[in-house]
């Protein structure tokens, strides 16, 4: 349904924009209808940039993003509006997604003015109620309130309800539960899994591996703008191959296992733009394989499991 083809994004930084920051480099993946894909990465890995490019909030520097076979960069204003009927985003901080001086349901009014100018009042109310009920909110309790009168979890669900008003089939969820408390966070996750059961595809952007694992089918691990590893989430979690994914798995705090095996982190090596992005910290980097000079291609090492590392050439897995 949605496909990224060798997408890159370069930001100009420095005083006069003289330096370049390669936020996303040659990223390709696709999302099928009704699929939840987790985009996992640390801060600065480019995960939010990818989400913003899909929503066309920022443009791409190279490559194309295709929605149902069409390049979104070529869409004019009218087509863009059609696109936003199908695809919406929800972001990390629910408190700054609302204008504090207006009532929270103003976000529904904006949708109505923009997308449903001819709908009758009664029909619209009905639509809002259905949508709010779908996200587990009681319309009587939450309508006609200001943002500060609602909790973070309620506001986040409000934003999802807003997206649902548009009959979307793709949702970009950028760290939507990071700011919520543990006791309410799981409700929003369960809501996403309900929506998925109704056929909604979700790009779940997160840094938290256990949350990603709970809801997603496929995982994409990003490191410095490049895909390090990609595949079925169970495979990636249980048999991580890329040294970076292994480091991540060994460091994530778990409730069922204590940190035992020590992690080896290498510091001080300089990664070049041409070489493997993880070269600077990789414990198994090998100059004879070319880790420092060439970026390893993303290779399918077993069915539906892609790794970008010279230690894993196509079709050959050692080390388990």
């Amino acid at each position: 349904m949605l496909a990224l083809k060798e997408v890159s994004k370069t930001y100009r930084i420095g005083t006069f924009g003289g330096k370049e920051l390669h936020a996303v480099r040659n990223v390709s993946f696709d999302v099928k209808p009704g699929e939840v894909v987790a985009l996992i990465g640390e801060s600065g890995s480019g995960k939010s940039t990818i989400g913003k490019m899909i929503l066309r909030l920022i443009g791409t520097s190279a490559g194309s993003i295709q929605f149902q076979g069409e390049d979104i960069a070529a869409f004019d204003h009218a087509r863009m509006k059609e696109y936003y009927r199908k695809i919406q985003g929800v972001f990390q901080d629910p408190f700054s997604s609302f204008n504090p001086i207006f009532k929270a349901d103003r976000i529904f009014g904006i949708i109505r003015d923009e997308f449903y100018p001819r709908i009758g009042e009664k029909e619209w109310q009905e639509k809002v109620n259905v949508s709010l009920t779908a996200v587990g909110l009681n319309p009587e309790h939450v309508l006609n309130k200001y943002p500060h009168q609602l909790s973070g979890g309620q506001l986040q669900r409000f934003l999802i309800a807003r997206a649902l008003l548009l009959d979307i089939n793709f949702l970009v969820a950028d760290e939507i539960i990071s700011m919520l408390d543990a006791s309410t966070r799981i409700d929003v996750l369960n809501l996403l899994s309900d929506l998925k059961a109704r056929g909604l595809a979700i790009l779940f952007i997160t840094h938290d591996l256990s949350l990603a694992n709970y809801i997603s089918e496929r995982a994409i691990i990003l490191y410095r703008g490049c895909i390090a590893e990609m595949g079925n989430i169970q495979t990636v979690f249980n048999h991580p191959l890329h040294p970076y994914t292994r480091l991540l798995m060994a460091s994530v705090p778990r409730l069922d296992k204590k940190w035992e095996e020590p992690v080896s982190v290498v510091d001080g090596r300089e990664a070049t733009l041409d070489g493997c992005p993880f070269y600077g910290r990789c414990p198994v980097a090998d100059k004879t394989l070319g880790c420092d000079r060439f970026q390893p291609p993303l290779a399918e090492v077993e069915p539906n499991h892609w790794v970008s590392c010279y230690h894993y050439p196509v079709g050959k897995i050692n080390l388990r």
């Binding site: 640390e42 801060s43 909790s151 979890g153 408390d181 543990a182 006791s183 309410t184 966070r185 799981i186 409700d187 996750l189 369960n190 899994s193 840094h207 591996l209 256990s210 949350l211 694992n213 709970y214 809801i215 989430i233 169970q234 979690f237 249980n238 480091l247 991540l248 060994a250 460091s251 994530v252 705090p253 778990r254 409730l255 069922d256 204590k258 940190w259 992690v263 982190v265 510091d267």
Partner: protein, 322 residues
């Protein structure tokens, strides 16, 4: 006991009345204990850690006593606290990233800090360098500005500064929240090392992330709406929690390897009460599946098993009849 807190009550003054953010808490920390302080946002965990080191308006001290190494600490008096702060009780603040003066080189900033405490910086230089080695920072950072350091490096630098005078108690407030997973582990393990090297005697680690506490804390204290809920050894809190809030909280945490179609986790319905006018009795009453008539009275925080404290009438009655 390294730290003893007795019925400490601290409110926030607002135009609408007092917000009862910390409402009579009593607990102790043993020598060498790393205590995790867990709870949701607004439960009073940051209020508690701030109350132990710097009580400034709108915070208002009402009652309670704090003892550190058997000496009473005048937490209500900001001036009298001056010689204690940094030397005996020290804190690694929540936004350690921004805790350093951006216009000074780090070495100079540390020297100024020590001068303010009437300590000659040359006396400490050797020890400072040893500490930098301990956390894996090069000595060159002393000649750098904070902006030249990455987030994890700044965090480690602040940890070194905070513990330079070997405080008896170190408070670490959400110090791992802003870090990446791999850096998080390194910083967390460093905290344990500080205790093992006897640089600090005991520690309070404030966080909302219970899985981090499971890795490094000896005991966990759970707070809810300004009250203490449960305190016990880490293993006990994670595997045999007794208070309904702790149980629901632990059960709602997704574990690595669990997927929604195998096991649907549930959250806790409802929201925490507002602390401007908190409900009488147990503050978890309205969200508690086990609540009954008795819960209209406030449950005491008592020891139901050795070193296992909880504030729930069900548990207290079960304990009394057993």
């Amino acid at each position: 006991m390294s730290l003893t807190v007795d019925r400490l009550r601290v409110y926030y003054q607002t135009l609408y009345g007092d917000v009862k953010a910390l409402d009579g808490v009593t607990f102790g920390i043993k020598d060498g204990e790393i205590m995790g302080l867990a709870g949701e946002s607004g439960c009073g965990k940051t209020t508690l850690s701030n109350a132990l080191i710097l009580m400034r308006p709108p915070m208002k001290y009402l009652e309670g006593k704090v003892y550190l190494d058997n000496e009473e600490i005048p937490v209500w008096d900001t001036d009298q606290m001056n010689p204690i702060r940094f030397a005996k009780i020290s804190i690694v603040p929540q936004y350690a990233m921004n805790a350093m003066n951006p216009t000074r080189k780090i070495g100079k900033m540390i020297a100024e800090l020590l001068e303010a405490r009437r300590i000659r910086s040359t006396e400490v230089t050797a020890e400072l360098k040893r500490r930098l080695d301990l956390v894996g920072l090069s000595h060159d950072v002393l000649k750098m500005y904070p902006i030249e350091l990455s987030g994890g490096m700044k965090q480690r630098m602040v940890m070194v500064i905070s513990t330079l005078l070997n405080p008896s108690l170190l408070i670490a407030d959400e110090i791992t929240s802003a870090l990446d997973v791999s850096t998080q582990r390194a910083v967390a393990e460093m905290l344990v090392e500080f205790r093992d090297c006897k640089i600090v005697k005991s520690m309070i680690i404030v966080t909302h992330d219970i899985s981090i506490l499971y890795q490094i804390a000896d005991s966990i204290l759970v707070m809810y709406a300004g009250k203490l809920v449960e305190k016990a050894a880490t293993e006990v809190i994670i595997h045999q929690p007794r208070h309904p809030y702790t149980r629901l909280l632990i059960a709602s945490l997704p574990k690595v390897g669990i997927q929604h179609d195998q096991k649907q986790l549930v959250g806790i319905p409802g929201n925490p009460p507002l602390l401007l006018n908190p409900p009488v009795g147990c503050r978890f009453r309205e969200r508690c599946p086990l609540a009954y008539e008795k819960c209209i009275e406030e449950p005491p925080f008592i020891e139901i098993e050795p070193n296992h404290y909880t504030a729930c009438w069900k548990e207290i009655e079960g304990h009394a009849s057993a």
